[in-house]
Each structure stands twice: as structure tokens, then as C-alpha cells.
């Protein structure tokens, strides 16, 4: 306990470090303020047309299908369609029908909509004569929960970075040799180092969650458990990096690699892999997947798979902690 107090005293002087733990909270506030921006517009189909070139009926119909952007002339419209960042479908009036203009590099969904657009427009009368049953489903804003989850994961990752850099710095400054002659066990050293990043990551993630996530009271405990276990895993990852890196540069590159592996694949899995598939279960092999899914489910108000996520995180914590202890023991012997 005295060791942890000394470590905390040491960190207290480091204003930059405290600021860094506060950053995810600031990012959380920024994400929260994004409500003024309609992020759902990114998920909608986008159409582009030349001003006054479409009939009012076509404009009305296109606006009911997605967002419609108007351009001064054909060239500006084609430039917008060709923009790599956009998935816009250009629309030209062709008598009573419509013709789509595509750049040819769109996602399959937009290519097919573009190719079917004339038929969809022709059969609009048929659609209005059909009965439509729409069962209420997911949220209209899929990007904001994703941004919130990424911010939370980053807050948790700060613990990893802090621990890793702290250990590498001590190695570089020769404090490691001093520790060898100090009356301190390896376990004591590990606990001290683990606690610092862990406390910081938990506080940072909890405050970010408090700002960004609105959940019912029965979801607070699952959220807390997910944060506690994920922060532990992140802090442990920091210990591994600190243990294996022999210099600042290699430490930073390891952090970069782990950060990419920590953040990018779960986002990709979440967007691409169906929830009930076998592949989804395999993604649990990556520790951050369960944390990411858990946070996203809680943001979206689902609690169904929470026990599964917590169990996976717990298993990862035990396995990785055992691996670290085994590694330390082997080095000692």
C-alpha cells in the first residue's frame, strides 16, 4: 500500500499525465455535443442532381429515399459523384424516367440501388398500393454509439500506455537496477505498476461513461464490471509491453501495434460479422472484442449477452495474468 502511495505521489507531480487521462473525458463531451450534427445522414443513400433538372415529383421521391444534394451544373455533380469519400448516386431526368450516374467504385448496396433506380422510380405507384409492416427496430444513429465506444476503449487504453511508458522509463533511467536491491518482491512491483494505470483507466472510462451513456439503473453494475475487467486487461497489456520493450522507440511501436489491434478489429467485427455466426464467437479470442461489444450493447440499451461478455473478460484476465506471472517466475529462475 505504501508503494502505491509513493507511485501516486510521483504521478501527482506529472501534470501532463493527469491531463492525458482527462482527454478521453473531453472527447466524450465532444461526442456528446455531436447531437447537433445529423450523423445518421452518413448511413442514408445519397443522391446528387443538377439544380432544376428534375421534375418536382422526382425530387420529392428522391428526398423520400435519401438525402438529395443539388449542384450548379453537370460537371460539379460528376465531380461530387467521383469524390472518393462520397457514395453519391448521380441522377439525371430522362423523360419520365430517371437514369443513375455512378463512379463505378461504390459499395455493392449503392451500385445495385443505382442500377435499379429507374425501376424503383417507375414502380413507385405500385409501392404506394402495397401494405407495409414496419416493426420498430434499432437506433437511427449508429455512428454516435460507435464513436462513444471508441472513446471509452481509448480511455481504457490510456492505462496500458501509462503502465508501459512508466516501466520503460524506469528501465531507461536505471531505476530497474535500484529496484533489484530494494526490499520489494516482483509481485509487489507488479501490483504497484498495475494499480497506477488501472486506477487511471477506470476513473477515466467511468467519467467518460457518465458523460456519454444514458442507461437504466439495472445496467449500471454490468457496465461497471465491463469497465473494471477491461481496464485490468489494458493495464496488464501495458505490463507486457513494458516487460518486453528494451527501449523507448520499440515501446512506442509496440503500443501503436497493440492500440491498432485493441481498437480497429472490434470495430470491424462489429460492422462486418453477424452476431449469431461462429466467426463472432471466434472474435472473443481478442480481449478487446468482448469489452467493445459489451459497451456498445449497453449504449444501445441491450443487456442480453452481458453475462457472456463478462465471462469472456474474466477468463482473459485470469489467463493473461497467469501468463504474466509465469513469465516473471521463469525469468527469476
Amino acid at each position: 500500500m505504501t508503494g502505491i502511495t509513493f507511485q501516486l505521489k510521483n504521478v501527482r507531480r506529472d501534470k501532463m499525465c493527469i491531463l492525458t487521462f482527462l482527454l478521453p473525458i473531453l472527447a466524450g463531451l465532444a461526442v456528446n455535443l455531436l447531437s447537433g450534427i445529423n450523423l445518421s445522414s452518413v448511413s442514408e443513400t445519397g443522391f446528387a442532381a443538377v439544380k432544376d433538372s428534375l421534375t418536382s415529383d422526382a425530387v420529392h421521391w428522391l428526398r423520400s429515399m435519401g438525402r438529395l444534394e443539388m449542384y450548379e451544373n453537370r460537371q460539379s455533380m460528376e465531380t461530387a459523384v467521383n469524390q472518393p469519400a462520397s457514395q453519391l448516386i448521380g441522377v439525371i431526368q430522362n423523360g419520365d424516367s430517371l437514369t443513375a450516374v455512378l463512379s463505378g467504385d461504390e459499395l455493392e448496396v449503392n451500385t445495385v440501388i443505382g442500377n435499379t433506380l429507374p425501376k424503383m422510380y417507375e414502380e413507385r405507384a405500385a409501392l404506394s398500393s402495397y401494405e407495409i409492416d414496419i416493426v420498430p427496430g434499432g437506433s437511427s444513429d449508429s455512428l454516435k454509439p460507435l464513436l462513444t465506444a471508441i472513446t471509452m476503449a481509448t480511455a481504457l487504453f490510456m492505462g496500458c500506455t501509462f503502465n508501459a511508458m512508466n516501466m520503460i522509463n524506469e528501465k531507461e533511467e536505471g531505476i530497474g537496477f535500484v529496484n533489484e536491491v530494494m526490499p520489494m518482491t516482483k509481485m509487489g512491483y507488479m501490483l504497484q505498476k498495475l494499480s497506477l494505470g488501472y486506477i487511471g483507466a477506470v476513473l477515466s472510462a467511468a467519467l467518460t461513461a457518465f458523460i456519454c451513456i444514458r442507461i437504466s439503473p439495472d445496467m449500471i453494475i454490468p457496465l461497471l464490471l465491463v469497465i473494471l475487467l477491461s481496464a485490468f486487461l489494458a493495464a496488464l497489456a501495458g505490463l507486457f509491453i513494458g516487460h518486453f520493450s528494451d527501449g523507448l522507440m520499440s515501446g512506442i511501436v509496440c503500443i501503436k501495434m497493440v492500440m491498432i489491434l485493441f481498437l480497429a478489429p472490434p470495430v470491424l467485427f462489429y460492422l462486418v460479422i453477424p452476431e449469431d455466426s461462429f466467426l463472432h464467437t471466434i472474435t472473443y479470442l481478442l480481449p478487446s472484442s468482448a469489452a467493445f461489444y459489451g459497451i456498445l450493447d449497453l449504449i444501445n440499451g441491450y443487456c442480453g449477452h452481458m453475462q457472456e461478455y463478462i465471462l469472456v473478460l474474466l477468463l482473459h484476465s485470469i489467463i493473461w495474468l497467469a501468463a504474466y506471472l509465469l513469465m516473471c517466475r521463469q525469468r527469476k529462475s
Binding site: 472527447a27 435519401g66 424516367s97 455512378l102 409501392l127 409492416d133 416493426v135 522507440m249
Partner: protein
């Protein structure tokens, strides 16, 4: 003087070798290339699957793209994902069934697409104006993203890490007693890191875009990569001179990697329109690099003038700060 410059270059090259810079750059190149070729180029979003329940077989003109369901329950089950659309043609008038995606206009589009599959194909043909395939677009897009991330984050870090190493070893103190101008000290590091970044940029481009496509955009990419590399390396150098420890620097690096580059990626890749993004300097650097990858005019003269002014002021600021640091060290 030539000998001094050569010695400085040799010393910095050795420092780079000792910090495993080249090995780590090679590791990043392999990791990024594997991700691009094995994962990213395959990413796509399929069209909404349409399930047709037609027990009487009345929808004779229905497209083969509509998947036939054996029962209404089976159709409802298939549509529970909030993406698929069902058509129940068992009654007199067909009924569209779907779980809402949460976006009204997307639901309308899904319904209109599903209904269009019940009718014969239209004769109107789509006009294709672009030259890229989806795969090539994905390759250009992600290669640009990785290069931007690598140059902005690692470029910021690489040069600074050698300076921190030198600070620890007391080399700064030695430099202050040598008859070498601060300009050469900064320049020798800058030249080496610029060369390393340019080699990395060329390899990443050629490996992931292919030789012929890669070579066609390489000159423009190299210019933009060079600008980005110099700007970031000088910024990193300046922070390294000003900050006391590498830990503070590494946390600053993390802020840059996650919070400064993320809005740039979001604005540049998803088409989200934020008016304030034009005041974000990294956004312009990213867009110039991206335009270079897509064979478009990277930027106007004002952009190059601002970049030149930024590089020059950063360089002068660093030389001054370094001189001050050396004076402090003795």
C-alpha cells in the same frame, strides 16, 4: 565542414539503427500490407436481401434475386436483422414486412428496392463515369490512411526519440562544445528521417497499389509525403526539445494519434460535413495526400505557401530553442 556533416549523418544513422527504427518500419509495412490485402480490399456492404413468400406462385415476373421463403414465419425470421426485407405475396395485395433500420428514408429505400424486384428489368442503363474499381478505390483509400497515420504519428515520434536518447546520453552537452551550427544538427536528423519516410511511402504504395498503378501516382504521393514528414518531424522535434521526459512526449503522441487524426479520418473518409474541419491543419495535409493517391490535383498554391512558411518557422523556432537548451546545459 563536409566531414562534420558526414559525421553527423553517420552518427544519426547509427542512432536510428540502434533504436531498431528500420526493423520497426519494416514490421509496420508488413502489418499494414497484410491488413490491406487480406481484409480491407474484401470489405463491402451487400444489398438488402429480399425474401419472397409466394405460396400460390402469383409473382411470376419476380427477379431471381428475391430469395424464396417456405413460410411466413421463415420470412419473418430472416428479416429480423433490421436489414433484410420480406414480401408476403400470400394475400390479394402483397405486403412488405421489415424491421426498421431506425432511419425512415433508408426504410423507404429498402421497400422500394424490394418492390422493384417483383417487376421485369427496366431498359434504362446506368452511366459509369469513374475509372476506379471498388477494389482499387479501397486500396488507394486505406494505403493513404495508413501512410498518413504512419507519417503523422511515427514521423512525429521518430526524430524526437533520437533527440531524447541524445539528451539522456549527454550528447546535447557535447554538441554545445563542438564547432557545429544547430542548423546542421537539425538538418542531419531531418534528412535521414525524410529519406526513411519517403522509402517507406514508396514501398507501401507499390506493394499495395501494384507497380503500374503505384508508379503513376508515386511522384505526387512522394511530394505530399515529404511535406507531411517534414512538418511532423519538425513538430515532434520541437515538442521533444521543450518537454522534459519521454513519458510526457509519448502521451502527447497518443493524443495526436487518437484525437487529432480521428476527426480528420472521419471527415475525409465518410463525407461527414463539419464546417470547422477546414481550420484543422492536418485535414488539409490529409486531403492533399488523398488527392495525390486518387490522381487528382493535390492542392493549390496557397497550400504550398502555407506549408513552406510552417516548415521555415518551425525550423527557425527549433534552432533557437536548441541553442537556448545548449546554453542551459552549459
Amino acid at each position: 565542414m563536409r566531414y562534420v556533416v558526414f559525421s553527423l549523418l553517420k552518427k544519426d544513422f547509427r542512432l536510428m539503427l540502434a533504436s531498431k527504427f528500420f526493423l520497426l518500419a519494416l514490421g509496420s509495412l508488413i502489418l499494414y500490407s497484410c491488413y490491406i490485402n487480406l481484409v480491407y480490399v474484401r470489405l463491402d456492404q451487400e444489398i438488402y436481401p429480399v425474401y419472397l413468400y409466394d405460396p400460390m406462385g402469383v409473382q411470376s415476373t419476380a427477379s431471381s434475386a428475391a430469395i424464396r421463403s417456405e413460410s411466413a414465419e421463415q420470412m419473418h425470421q430472416a428479416c429480423s436483422d433490421g436489414y433484410s426485407v420480406g414480401i408476403d405475396a400470400s394475400g390479394r395485395v402483397p405486403r412488405i414486412y421489415m424491421v426498421s433500420s431506425g432511419i425512415r428514408r433508408t426504410d423507404n429505400s429498402r421497400a422500394a428496392y424490394a418492390v422493384s424486384l417483383l417487376f421485369p428489368d427496366s431498359e434504362t442503363k446506368t452511366v459509369v463515369i469513374g475509372t476506379n474499381t471498388k477494389e482499387m478505390k479501397n486500396r488507394r483509400e486505406i494505403t493513404c490512411e495508413f501512410l498518413f497515420f504512419e507519417l503523422s504519428a511515427v514521423g512525429f515520434l521518430g526524430l524526437a526519440s533520437t533527440l531524447f536518447k541524445e539528451k539522456q546520453m549527454g550528447v546535447i552537452l557535447v554538441h554545445s562544445t563542438l564547432p557545429v551550427s544547430q542548423t546542421y544538427i537539425v538538418l542531419s536528423k531531418l534528412v535521414l528521417f525524410l529519406a526513411a519516410d519517403l522509402i517507406f511511402a514508396a514501398l507501401l504504395t507499390l506493394v499495395n497499389l501494384g507497380v503500374s498503378q503505384g508508379l503513376s501516382v508515386l511522384p505526387a504521393v512522394m511530394i505530399q509525403a515529404g511535406i507531411l514528414s517534414v512538418v511532423m518531424a519538425l513538430t515532434g522535434f520541437f515538442c521533444a526539445v521543450c518537454l522534459q521526459g519521454f513519458r510526457q512526449f509519448s502521451l502527447l503522441y497518443l493524443i495526436l494519434a487518437v484525437f487529432v487524426t480521428t476527426p480528420v479520418f472521419l471527415a475525409g473518409q465518410t463525407g461527414i460535413s463539419w464546417k470547422w474541419i477546414r481550420y484543422h491543419p492536418m485535414y488539409h495535409l490529409f486531403m492533399a495526400l488523398k488527392n495525390a493517391y486518387f490522381g487528382m490535383k493535390p492542392a493549390g498554391n496557397i497550400y504550398y505557401a502555407v506549408c513552406a512558411a510552417a516548415v521555415l518557422s518551425l525550423f527557425m523556432l527549433i534552432c533557437r530553442t536548441l541553442k537556448h537548451e545548449m546554453a542551459k546545459e552549459g
